[in-house]
């Protein structure tokens, strides 16, 4: 296997982008990534795009061909593939691109993610997202994602006595970081009170425990490490790519408040990179709900099971803490355009490793991690990236 490096990244601003269509979004992100890599389109050998549900959100399928066409690649007939794993679609698209380059099949490959979610009413988007759960055993009986994660939160709080205030601290911290990220959908700092007094969604989760509905796209370009310097002075090496699966229904899990797929993918990634959690300078985890970040930092090994609430409340996951988590603002403040999120996480870590993260920069960042979850944990993708 060849070593793989990231040579360019691009991301649209996230938000309710009513003036931008699905096509506009990925063309903008792709163009930004090409510009970043100082690359022209004819050098691209293949494309992978993460997208969860364009069929339901904009009634468009066949996304692989669509993005190749609108990226101006149709006449060159390059292979272009859509990857779908619910909210982990972006992370898996990145992994496919890395595998394609590592295997020697392709040289310059684009990994993109895009979701256009605001063309439908909120009820319809909730229904589309429910497709990430088990339709027969969860969706058909009325479970929604806030409901499922609320069950995880209830179980976790019962077992480990985490307080409501500790849980709210996840959102406060992520909004603090998001306020320092120019692409964030909600770049506003909030207080504990904002979270605790917000509208109840599914007990114990309130509005500010939940990531928003978002439009956005992100793209990264990968190449063999040995050729990376042709395109950039600051290549970022892919130290590990790992993926794991689990039962699609929450009730079939060994432990409702542990994502075993996160544990498995995390362990595989650390093994592949020959590193431990102590080597990681910052991590982007999948905080689709505040409780998801609590579970993630434990399941990846950054703190002991049952202690993440206190760990967070003590500021250990904030900028300047032991392990800064979600410096981008996470899904909560940066926004969650489902298929794009996994790529945006890579985009954030690359910015940190290049020292280009501005007011949210982690000093001396050398190694970073991304953690992208599909559904309630049926798919997890973990990547470790490092400075060269």
């Amino acid at each position: 296997m060849r070593d793989v490096a990231i040579i360019g990244v691009g991301c649209t601003k996230f938000g309710e982008k009513w003036e931008s269509s699905f096509r506009d979004l990925f063309v903008e992100a792709g163009a930004l990534a090409l510009e970043d890599a100082k690359l022209s389109g004819e050098k691209i050998d293949a494309m992978y795009v993460g997208n969860m549900s364009a069929g339901r959100f904009i009634e468009q399928e066949h996304i692989g061909a669509l993005i190749a066409d609108y990226a101006g690649m149709a006449t060159r007939h390059i292979p272009s593939t859509r990857v779908e794993a619910a909210c982990a679609s972006g992370g898996l698209a990145f992994r496919q691109a890395v595998i394609a380059v590592a295997s020697g099949m392709e040289d310059i490959v684009v990994a993109a993610g895009v979701e256009k979610m605001t063309d439908v009413e909120p009820g319809e988007s909730t229904e589309a997202l429910t497709g990430a759960a088990d339709r027969e055993w969860e969706g058909f009986v009325g479970a929604t994602f806030p409901g499922l994660y609320a069950m995880i939160a209830k179980d976790y709080m019962h077992k480990y006595s985490m307080t409501r205030e500790q849980l709210a601290q996840v959102a406060v911290k992520n909004h603090y970081n998001g306020a320092r990220n120019p692409i964030a959908q909600f770049p506003q700092e909030i207080t504990l009170d904002t979270v605790l007094k917000s509208t109840m969604v599914a007990e114990p989760l309130r509005l500010f425990d939940c990531s928003p509905i978002t439009d956005g796209a992100a793209a990264v370009i990968v190449a063999p490490l040995e050729r990376a310097r042709e395109f950039t002075d600051t290549p970022i090496r892919v130290l590990a790519t790992a993926q794991a699966s689990d039962s699609i229904a929450l009730h079939d899990r060994r432990d409702i408040s542990t994502l075993d797929a996160t544990v498995a993918a995390g362990q595989r990634a650390f093994k592949m990179a020959g590193l431990t959690h102590k080597d990681i300078d910052m991590v982007e985890v999948h905080d689709c709900f505040s409780i998801a970040e609590i579970c993630a930092i434990e399941d990846l090994g950054f703190c002991r099971k049952g202690t993440a609430g206190k760990f967070t409340a003590d500021g250990e996951t904030a900028l300047g803490g032991k392990i800064p988590v979600n410096t981008s603002g996470g899904l909560k403040a940066c926004g969650h355009p489902v298929g794009a999120t996994g790529i945006k996480q890579v985009y954030e870590i690359v910015q940190q490793l290049r020292g280009e993260a501005g007011k949210r920069q982690v000093d001396g960042a050398k190694i970073g991690m991304t953690h992208n979850v599909g559904g309630t944990g049926a798919t997890v993708a973990v990547h470790i990236l490092g400075r060269v």
Partner: protein, 350 residues
Amino acid sequence: MVGIISYGVYIPRYRIKVEEIARVWGANASDITGGLGVFEKSVPDLDEDAATIAVEAARNALLRRQIDPAEIGAVYVGSESHPYAVKPTACTVGEAVGATPNMTAADYEFACKAGTAAIQTCMGLVKSGMIKYGLAIGSDVSQGAPGDALEYTAAAGGAAYLIGNDDPIATIRHTCSFTTDTPDFWRREGQDYPRHGGRFTGDPGYFKHVKGASTLLLKETGKSPKDFTYAVFHQPNAKFPQKVAKDLGFKPEQIKPGLMVPYLGNTYSGASPIGLAATLDIAKPGDTIFVCSFGSGAGSDAFDIEVTDTITSDRFHRGAAPGVEKLLKKPIYLDYALYAKHKGKLVMQA
């Protein structure tokens, strides 16, 4: 010069408080009153609809001015809750006020701005000499689905304007419109309740069109916000008109007399016409009024209005019909159960 010969308003006596609706849905009432600036809304009686409200408003307009109703050559009623899909409300109104049969009539629908569109139509017919008087009405018993955000504001009421060029109480010096195809809010044929695009009704809907028409009117008249004594903006809630007024450079005291929504709710086609009526209730000769309506779908009509000496003369009897302030007094509060009955949300056994 073409203008307003008379005007009249009707608002049903019943109200429901935002707190009562919030109680039913388990929502935090102070979040809603704080977010929308609306505290209660009007509710029609069991036998009131957009037609009866239009008739009451038209009769109140005619009480204030001695004209021969047979000289009304056109009746246009704007509403998004016409009682019939086919059969005009305007004919009922025309018959009720004695304007039939030598008149033209039609119903209008343009979400919340059909009433001001009716005023513009009557202005054109008067200016061209086709008619002597035209009756333009905005009237609604608007719908909000149970539990929907709209339910807190969807109210009932209407205002009627008699348009002509013979001794108006206020001249309409200029009008212009700003219209695009924007699907921010809609109700399909046969559906009971409208649907909407949430926050999409804000910036791309209300603000774009109200600012578009307002800016155009200021440009075409060469005026600025300080040239107007008062301003009235469409008021789906209290926040939107306050924000758009501020953004355009109007002061809070200019919009205050016409901002009826906090204790009335959004009367849809009646909203900006009632706001204008409340302003005319207190206006003095020489006062100038800026008006800009908004209807989802979407469009805005803007008006430059100047009050004449006639409003305080013996040819006009402002006190002969109740003003908006009086119509809002002595409400009868309903609980949600009676509200549901009044709004026909309870399905009776056949």
